[in-house]
């Protein structure tokens, strides 16, 4: 593929089509509505009942992103698996037989969606901060930490790429969704049975565990400890294992597989 093709009108239209596929099914519409409902409820809850010291913009932005880190990958999983489960691949690849372009459009769509979610959660966090400043006293208010923001972005981009990779490899919507959420649980279970594995192996190959420091759900959100080199390496290794490898294998298969 010619590099300039990436920005050709047909590639741009393909990207918009993939973006549209996220929301023009009943499932997609419900997922978006669910996301917005969760954000609205959380915003109200934070402003009215949140502990004063938690009510900074940065902290609330992080908290609003926690449920999103579970909902966001679902979009990426379904974006890929619905082509097979709903058999639309037949139409998709008939319209654009250069499958690498379709894959590229799905990747771009996932990344743009993540950016959009970060912006939407920031908007809700801003509303929450404004509301809290008006209604509550003794709160931290508009505080923004570049490092925590960066970690937040890394977390969400990693999550959606994991979803995309799961979808590409598993290709069946139900099985992909279940395994995506079951794998971290399986690790937790294994770790409690074999503590040595939990302590020494898991951080390297369990993406959920590797992401924990970036997520840092412990309140207050802002007190994230400094990320050590080990934590970065854990993340890199688990992402290579759970994102890099399946993305590569899944993409190769998607480019070659016979569509029935």
């Amino acid at each position: 593929m010619n590099p300039t093709d990436i920005f050709s009108p047909s590639s741009r239209r393909l990207f918009v089509v993939e973006l549209r596929k996220l929301v023009n099914t009943r499932f997609g519409a419900l997922l978006v509505a669910g996301m917005l409902a969760v954000l609205a409820l959380m915003t109200v809850a934070l402003v009215t009942t949140g502990h004063e010291q938690h009510l900074s913009f940065q902290n609330m932005w992080g908290m609003l992103n926690l449920p999103m880190s579970y909902l966001l990958p679902i979009f990426a999983i379904v974006l890929v698996t619905s082509e097979w489960s709903q058999r639309t691949a037949l139409v998709t690849f008939a319209l654009e037989p250069r499958r690498e372009r379709v894959l590229g459009a799905k990747l771009a769509t996932s990344l743009v969606l993540t950016l959009a979610v970060l912006l939407v959660t920031a908007t809700f966090a801003a509303i929450a901060t404004g509301g809290a400043l008006a209604l509550r006293s003794g709160i931290p208010g508009w505080r923004l930490d570049p490092t925590i923001t960066r970690n937040l972005a890394i977390l969400q981009f990693a999550r959606i790429l994991e979803g995309l990779a799961f979808g590409l490899v598993i290709r069946n919507t139900a099985i992909a969704l279940v395994s995506f959420f079951a794998v971290p649980t399986a690790w937790t279970l294994l770790s409690s049975l074999l503590p040595w594995v939990g302590d020494h192996v898991r951080p390297w190959i369990d993406f959920a565990a590797a992401e924990q420091p970036f997520q840092n759900g412990e309140a207050p959100f802002e007190s994230a400890h400094a990320l050590t080199a080990t934590i970065w390496v854990h993340l890199a290794v688990s992402l290579a294992l759970w994102v890099g490898l399946p993305l590569w294998l899944g993409a190769l298969r998607m480019l070659r597989i016979e569509v029935k």
Binding site: R13, R26, L90
Partner: protein, 301 residues
């Protein structure tokens, strides 16, 4: 112009398509006939780049489908009407493809009207569509880019008799305007009514192909006459060959050459082309050795 040349597709040791060669000229409807599993769909999938050939070539206007930019504006495809997202509306499925092809929104209404889907039907989710409605939507999809080649796999499946008649008229009109149609089916009578040319395939191999006249090249005439003797004498005198067939004669010529030879006093009780049974008989005869239901459907046909 669809050109399939020496096409072979193997799955492991199984040969699904075996050195298939045929072509579909413009302004014709080509009927692609074969039993289930004969290899029709595999050939069509290879033709549109959804499967890869093991060897040989399948091109449209001299190019592989994958090498044609925005192929849907040249080639309309309907391979499986149920391959649509159940949670999307019919209109949205079309609008999305129209956008991708850079077509105006009005094109969606045009193709919906062309296939007889009402606006309120188009706003329903495909989950609730009957198979006939899905076929219409699939055909609308194929027609969207205003292509000059149509490749349709079993498009008449699930259509009611009125729908089948409608589909036939639409395809005839399309070919009359210079379009190329490749249409697979096992509904033989239906294909016979619409196609100009036929390609018969069985166990991955071409069994026969050509126009209806070429395939049903039996020009003999069946005659029942009383008394028979004066007629056979007249036939011998005219140098025509004949054989007895049941209580009548099979004569090796057209009906219009027999009439002037009938002697006075001979009553013609029956006179018809010997091949009246047509394509279905031919199909069953030719596929007799490959068809799995030979015993039941009767190889004698």
């Amino acid at each position: 112009m669809i050109d399939v040349h020496d096409l072979t597709k193997r799955y492991g040791s199984h040969v699904a398509v075996d050195r298939v060669t045929f072509h579909c000229p413009p302004a014709t409807v080509t009927g692609f006939l074969g039993a289930n599993g004969a290899g029709k769909s595999t050939v069509m999938r290879i033709l549109v780049g959804l499967a890869m050939a093991t060897s040989g070539s399948a091109t449209i206007d001299g190019r592989r489908y994958r090498d044609i930019p925005d192929p849907a504006t040249r080639i309309g495809i309907l391979l499986d009407a149920s391959a649509q997202h159940a949670g999307r509306t019919g209109r949205e499925a079309l609008a999305m493809s129209a956008f991708q092809l850079g077509l105006p929104r009005s094109r969606v209404d045009q193709v919906l009207a062309a296939v007889g889907l009402r606006p309120e039907e188009s706003l329903r989710r495909i989950r609730g569509y009957s198979l006939g409605m899905r076929q219409r939507l699939g055909l609308a999809h194929a027609l969207l880019g205003n292509p000059d080649v149509l490749i349709l796999d079993e498009p008449a499946n699930g259509l009611d008799p009125a729908g089948i008649r409608w589909m036939r008229d639409l395809l005839r009109e399309y070919a009359a305007d210079g379009g190329t149609v490749l249409l697979s089916s096992h509904l033989l009578a239906e294909v016979e009514a619409v196609a100009d040319r036929f390609v018969l395939i069985g166990e991955g191999r071409i069994l026969a192909q050509g126009t209806k006249d070429e395939l049903l090249g039996d020009r003999r005439t069946f005659v029942r006459a009383a008394p028979q003797k004066p007629l056979t004498l007249a036939l011998d005198e005219a140098g025509l060959t004949w054989t007895r067939h049941g209580d009548g004669l099979l004569i090796d010529t057209d009906a219009h050459r027999i009439w002037p030879l009938v002697p006075n006093g001979v009553v013609i009780e029956e006179l018809r082309p010997a091949s009246a049974a047509g394509l279905e008989d031919l199909f069953l005869r030719i596929t007799a050795q490959t068809q799995r239901d030979t015993q039941r459907t009767g190889a004698s046909a």
